[in-house]
Symmetry: C2
Subunit: 413 residues, 2 copies
């Protein structure tokens, strides 16, 4: 059905765009590298016979018509942006698998009632602006104009500025909004980014729900001072307060079922060996597939961190970078995916996605389903990110089978 070599070759070719000397891939949103990746993908879409267009925020679409032009489209997709110095599977696999599915259908002269649209969402990772899923928010009508000025990259440039530099009109983002009558379902193939499938020797995961990421920024303000001349009792050490806060975060995540908490970024000012830190800033990424448990963990963390800072005479302020509700995948689509696995003679393993995905933004627009394939050693967001060709193809075949059911027959079972 699907062509393994073509998919794998395109995946390798795409990985050369934005690759640095040490093998990492960096494709930030609205960058030249992300643009180049989209143009390469657009070319492959056209080779697959798709009509292509970019919407008002930079989402790239490729459409294959069905026999009923008025029927809502089945969406298959993912993203092409990456984290800094990341891997080559997170995003690209889902995009190229979707193209492979529709190209294979056309080569097999398969006709479907529903049109199929391959979607490349703009900025899923949030690596540039600390604010992700921008394209999927936009199509779901969830991207408020105020966000465009609020989020800024490391150079201090706003999301709106970046859009404009990319040739878009930030005043027109509403044009990207799509309606439920246009979209029948959204299916995405993605790497697991964890060790569950690999550790159990399973080829396919069927996602039951996606844990919502809550991103908080903590700023600790103490008092800088000379490392030698300030007795321990007179200190207001911002980094010591941050250290205590990090252990609180870790402990709470260990205590609350299904929770994960990560401090991934931390900066120290002034940053001299012999200077007590005056200001420390850090990010917390807190997730749980169940929103009430995530809220409970958040509350516990805030209370304990504030208490510790009060004791230390260090000021702490907390800013919400993003707060995404966990979502459940559509039971109907999970059913189609399980059926597709059975037809292919593989078992589909139910699991929760700890990572966030564009589908989270689409739940009010259409039913959302996701297929996972194993990540070697669970590694992701690094150059070592890897999924074997066999696993990539198996996932693509499941995607093909499920898309065929949906586009030909509608929701089955």
């Amino acid at each position: 059905m699907v062509q393994a070599d073509r998919l794998w070759k395109r995946l390798q070719e795409l990985g050369d765009i934005g690759r640095d000397a040490s093998g990492g891939v960096t494709r930030f949103s609205y960058s030249c590298d992300e643009w180049a990746a989209k143009e390469r993908v657009r070319y492959w879409m056209q080779q697959a016979g798709l009509d292509t267009w970019e919407d008002a925020v930079g989402n790239l679409f490729g459409r294959r018509e069905g026999t009923d032009a008025a029927a809502p489209a089945v969406w298959l997709g993912s993203h092409l942006d990456s984290v800094a110095h990341g891997g080559n599977f997170d995003g690209p696999l889902g995009v190229l698998a979707a193209i492979e599915v529709v190209q294979s259908m056309t080569e097999a002269s398969v006709q479907t009632r529903h049109p199929i649209e391959v979607v490349v969402f703009e900025d899923e990772e949030g690596a540039r602006f600390g604010f992700g899923m921008i394209g999927s928010r936009a199509v779901a009508g969830r991207l408020a104009p105020a966000e465009l000025d609020r989020h800024r990259d490391a150079q201090g440039r706003s999301l709106g500025w970046a859009m404009q530099a990319y040739g878009m009109d930030p005043a027109q983002i509403d044009r990207a909004v799509r309606s439920s009558s246009e979209v029948f379902a959204y299916l995405e193939l993605h790497i697991e980014q964890g060790r569950v499938l690999e550790s159990q020797g399973l080829p396919i995961g069927i996602v039951s729900g996606i844990a919502g990421p809550l991103w908080l920024n903590f700023t600790f303000k103490g008092m800088s001072g000379h490392a030698g001349a300030t007795p321990m009792t007179l200190r207001q050490d911002a980094l010591a307060a941050a250290a205590e806060a990090m252990l609180v975060m870790e402990q709470v995540a260990q205590d609350v079922p299904g929770c994960v908490a990560t401090v991934g970024k931390l900066t120290v000012q002034p940053g001299g060996v012999n200077i007590i830190p005056g200001v420390v800033s850090l990010t917390l990424d807190l997730r749980n597939a169940i929103e009430s448990l995530r809220n409970q963990a958040e509350q516990r963390i805030l209370e304990q961190v504030e208490k510790a800072c009060l004791r230390r005479n260090v000021d702490v302020t907390v800013q919400t970078l993003q707060r995404i509700a966990p979502v459940e995948c559509a039971p109907s689509l999970r059913g189609v995916l399980h059926q597709s696995c059975e037809e292919l003679g593989v078992s589909g393993f139910d699991l929760v996605s700890g990572a966030g995905h564009d589908g989270m933004q689409l739940v009010d627009l259409c039913p959302v389903g996701m297929v996972f394939v194993p990540s070697r050693e669970g590694i992701s967001h690094q150059p070592e990110e890897w999924t074997s060709p066999v696993d990539c193809i198996m996932g693509t075949q499941v995607l093909y089978q499920a898309a065929l059911h949906l586009a030909k027959e509608g929701i089955v079972q």
Copy 2:
């Protein structure tokens, strides 16, 4: 005796060299800014009638002859280099006070038996190479040639490279070595950089000993991973390990009498909001005026940090950046300083210096004494570093009085 206005005006003028837009002063060793500061000071030395020269590592000397040309010289001095974005008193006050002392002596036609040399030591802070007291090490014969290649700045340039670019021959550093027969005593006026004098309303501190700084670099290597897809139980989080280590360091310093421990620099890799940190590097500055207590604190920290890392399956390596033994100030010079204070009608308060100073390197060369003046709010190594004109002058008068006793009469009491 000494001229308050002249001293204060020179201090302000010197502070403009290396000053940035926000008021901080940055004068790294062997930089153009430090060179410009030394040239300005050399001009003032010449105005004060001193013979000036620079030695083989960049120490600047200004000599006032005594009646006995063969007598060893009384050294008065400090340094002109600064930390990044630092203040304008740490170093410059001691240099300018020394010039003020000899210029005032000459203006008052005072003759002394001993010559007096004003010394500007090269790179006391260690801000550029993470290795300080370079000039004082050199005169004491403690600067091993191997150090020149070992220590590198943020651009990866070695200390030897910087010397060469500054116009010096790294093969000739031995020429800077001075002998005990040449140096009678070393006295330095410095700001306290702590809150002891201010909090007790005292104008003058007489230093009993200098706590030796031990600088260690800790590198934690865990395993990077996706923040959402890696359960807490499967993590090898380098930053969580570092957080636990930082609280260990703080606790040990609180437990061991007279200890201070500071983590001033910390870097996180890869450094994304949703990526578990794989590598964290941090510096520890550990001090105690009593070496055995510092060693005890170091051992406790290393044991507890290693235990924590073993439990976390995180690898930790520790590198010694510098290990300076604490030193006692010469009782003879402390006596001269106390007597000088009495003659001026002020009380001299005995205190330990938590900060390291060039005098530490000179203890085998000559007796070492230090005078402290109050730091406002104990702030140092920041643009807000401040000592009032009245306190600067009072310290300079004590230095004058003590230098007069030493240069005229030798060690008194």
